[in-house]
């Protein structure tokens, strides 16, 4: 087995797989962020909070249904819908009146919302750590190359990633709303001038983007402790990924997430004490050579 891969050692292969599974959640969350950034021009700092709320909702739903496998599958559907409902409220009551404002104003609003959501989570779920068990069929691990363990749940993530990517591609390229939203991203006024209700298109895109954050939260929940503050680290990484990939470009988010996830897992292999530095180094390198991101920014 070890010779099969020539000069690539089993350690590297296993780190690549681990890195890819890590990429999935980063991609799902940052694609939502990028979608909103691209079409609505909102730098949504509250995106991380929605991810946290998704995870907490996953906890509640899975506990409501006995905390077992069935609970997880129901949570996978209900929690993103719950986040969608919350974002629908936020969009209709706040954002829809502010699309024409400056970015700074929108940034402040989303920052305020992230604080509100943070306290909301504390009010509803309390400050305890919460945990969502890994669904029974994904429990345990298998030994990959050279006996290094790989959690079965990560395989599930590896399948979810491409599925979401394909669904997003279908949504943006094959549906009417996707086409309108792409057009609106380029020229909002023109789309409005041909008689399309831009406000509702924006609303729907906002909700889709936010529910992606919720979905990311559900998917991450079985691997971590669901807790206050889990939004902070993620939102920073998601913004870096979006900036690296090209603002508003969903495929840029995919590319950015791949670079981020892989440099981290391979960096650990090269220099374990300073493994955390590598993804940020990658961001710096990318931005030196392509200041507007790897793919075309819609801004």
């Amino acid at each position: 087995m070890e010779n099969l891969f020539g000069f690539i050692s089993p350690g590297i292969l296993s780190q690549i797989l681990v890195g890819l599974s890590r990429t999935v959640i980063l991609f799902i969350v940052s694609s939502g962020l990028s979608l909103i950034l691209g079409v609505l021009r909102i730098p949504n700092v509250a995106h991380g909070s929605l991810y946290m709320i998704g995870a907490f909702m996953a906890y509640s739903v899975s506990h409501l249904f006995g905390g077992g496998t069935a609970g997880f599958w129901i949570a996978l559907i209900l929690a993103p819908l719950g986040v969608a409902a919350l974002s629908f409220l936020a969009e209709r009551s706040l954002f829809q009146f502010l699309y024409e404002r400056e970015h700074l104003m929108l940034l402040l609003l989303t920052f305020a919302l992230s604080l509100v959501f943070g306290d909301l989570v504390k009010l509803v779920w309390g400050a305890e750590y919460r945990s969502v068990p890994v669904p029974f069929i994904f429990q345990g691990y298998i030994n990959l190359f050279g006996g290094l363990p790989f959690p079965i749940y990560s395989f599930f993530l590896l399948i979810m990633g491409p599925v979401i990517a394909i669904l997003l591609w279908l949504l943006t390229n094959k549906t009417k709303i996707g086409k309108i939203s792409r057009a609106a991203a380029v020229d909002r006024e023109m789309v409005g001038a041909v008689g399309i209700n831009v406000s509702w298109v924006f609303g729907i895109v906002f909700i889709i983007g936010c529910s992606l954050a919720g979905l990311g939260g559900v998917l991450v929940a079985p691997t971590v402790s669901v807790t206050l503050g889990m939004d902070h680290t993620l939102i920073m990484e998601a913004f870096l990924i979006v900036i690296m990939g090209g603002l508003g470009n969903v495929w840029g988010a995919l590319l950015g997430a791949l670079i981020f996830g892989l440099t981290q897992s391979l960096g650990i292999l090269i220099w374990p004490q300073f493994g955390i530095v590598f993804p940020y180094l990658a961001v710096v390198v990318v931005l030196i050579f392509r200041p507007t991101g790897i793919l075309r920014s819609t801004w």
Partner: protein, 405 residues
């Protein structure tokens, strides 16, 4: 215009009454100011400190208070920010005129406040911050440490680990001060007690890391005998979940300070990994003594949950304040400090002493390993080895040498 002058007259009288009332009120109570983090993830620990403190205060007040005075407390949320914490401590001391200050979970805030109370000569009870500097190099007459600090935790773990056959150690942890301090303390003490141990490598990840799998596969590839995992906060649970998912907990044993604590094990339910070594100051099920059972029953009755480590810190802080004033015989800060030095009190975990030389509370440490128990729907600590406070606290000479620097 008669009504207007009447209203003004009435309100002046009312104001006057209120003022005199609050002044007389202030003189008849002992005021404790609490500065701690009540927003964000740290709340899971600080709520217990506050609730434990409240429980004791209610009891003391119901029993007639101290020297005829009731304890009154106000608390402030420092939002895990040292500058806010310091501003609040100043406000509590200068404006609210509190007699005593307590808190915080944030070491940086604690050190900032410590500097201030030293000048103001206000006793300050530290109830969760883990930096060894608090009573070490930055220690002074007015600071009291009611919990273990990183150096103590490291020594306790090293004492227990030295008896185990492991030789090749890997060190991993959260890349921030607490993580490094715990890891350094365990490792330097272990090396001292058992010089044959070797360090195979180190891994550090960022605080809040969500996915430990890449780190774990890398550690496993190096085949260490044992891993010292220096995580804090939610990282404790995150690492245990990853250890379970990757089978690490069955392959290589590992240690985390507070791994066996209720706040870490209860959320994971029956899915927490078995065989994880940990140290903690308190369990609601251990020691199984009448004192502890009574404390747990009282706490449960008041708050409908099991007390965790912070509850003991908060509870004992109130007890020491009460006993200190009683011994001092007056509400006087200097006399209180003198009275508390070397004082010992019974607690749910046995007799606890505030050491005279550095004001560190000597509290037993329980080294144990996670195991399933049919009585609970979560894992608990088993095979508990008790390490007495005096055995794992740095000696007075060591501390005083640090303070001179």
């Amino acid at each position: 215009m008669k009504w207007l002058s009447r209203i003004i007259f009435l309100s002046v009288i009312l104001l006057f009454v209120l003022c005199t009332f609050s002044i007389s009120h202030a003189a008849n109570t002992i005021k404790v100011g609490i500065v701690d983090t009540y927003t964000g993830p740290a709340t899971t620990f600080t709520n217990d400190v506050l609730d434990g403190f409240k429980l004791a205060v209610e009891r003391i007040n119901a029993g007639g208070g101290i020297l005829g005075k009731k304890i009154e407390y106000t608390f402030r949320d420092e939002k895990f920010k040292p500058d806010i914490g310091l501003a609040m401590a100043k406000e509590l001391i200068l404006k609210e005129k509190v007699d005593i200050l307590m808190g915080t979970i944030n070491s940086a805030t604690t050190l900032a406040i410590s500097d201030f109370v030293k000048k103001e000569k206000v006793p300050f009870f530290v109830t969760f911050a883990k930096s060894e500097k608090i009573v070490g190099e930055k220690g002074h007459r007015y600071i009291f440490n009611m919990n273990e600090h990183t150096e103590m935790a490291g020594r306790a773990a090293a004492i227990a680990l030295a008896k185990k056959p492991y030789v090749k150690y890997w060190i991993a942890g959260d890349d921030y001060e607490y993580g490094h301090a715990i890891a350094d303390a365990v490792w330097s003490n272990l090396k001292k007690i058992k010089p044959s141990v070797q360090k195979v490598g180190e891994t550090w990840w960022k605080v809040g890391e969500a996915d430990f799998t890449p780190y774990i596969t890398q550690i496993l590839a190096a085949k260490p005998d044992f891993i010292i995992v220096a995580t804090g906060g939610s990282g404790m649970v995150n690492f245990q979940k990853a250890a379970k998912a990757t089978g690490l907990s069955q392959k290589v044993p590992f240690y985390q300070h507070t791994a066996t604590e209720l706040s870490v094990l209860a959320p994971q339910g029956p899915n927490a990994p078995e065989g994880v070594y940990g140290t903690a100051n308190y369990f609601f099920y251990y020691p199984d003594t009448p004192e502890n059972r009574a404390f747990v029953a009282d706490f449960k009755k008041a708050y409908n949950r099991n007390p965790r480590i912070g509850a003991l810190y908060g509870y004992m802080t109130a007890q020491f304040i009460a006993a200190g004033y009683k011994k001092a015989g007056a509400i006087d800060r200097e006399k209180l400090v003198n009275a508390l030095e070397g004082m010992s009190l019974d607690s749910p975990v046995g007799n606890l002493e505030i050491r005279k030389c550095d004001h560190q509370l000597l509290i037993p440490m329980y080294f144990g390993v996670t195991k399933k128990d049919p009585k609970y729907d979560f894992l608990i600590a088993g095979n508990i080895e008790v390490i007495q406070g005096k055995d794992y606290v740095p000696s007075c000479q060591e501390v005083l040498k640090l303070r001179k620097k």
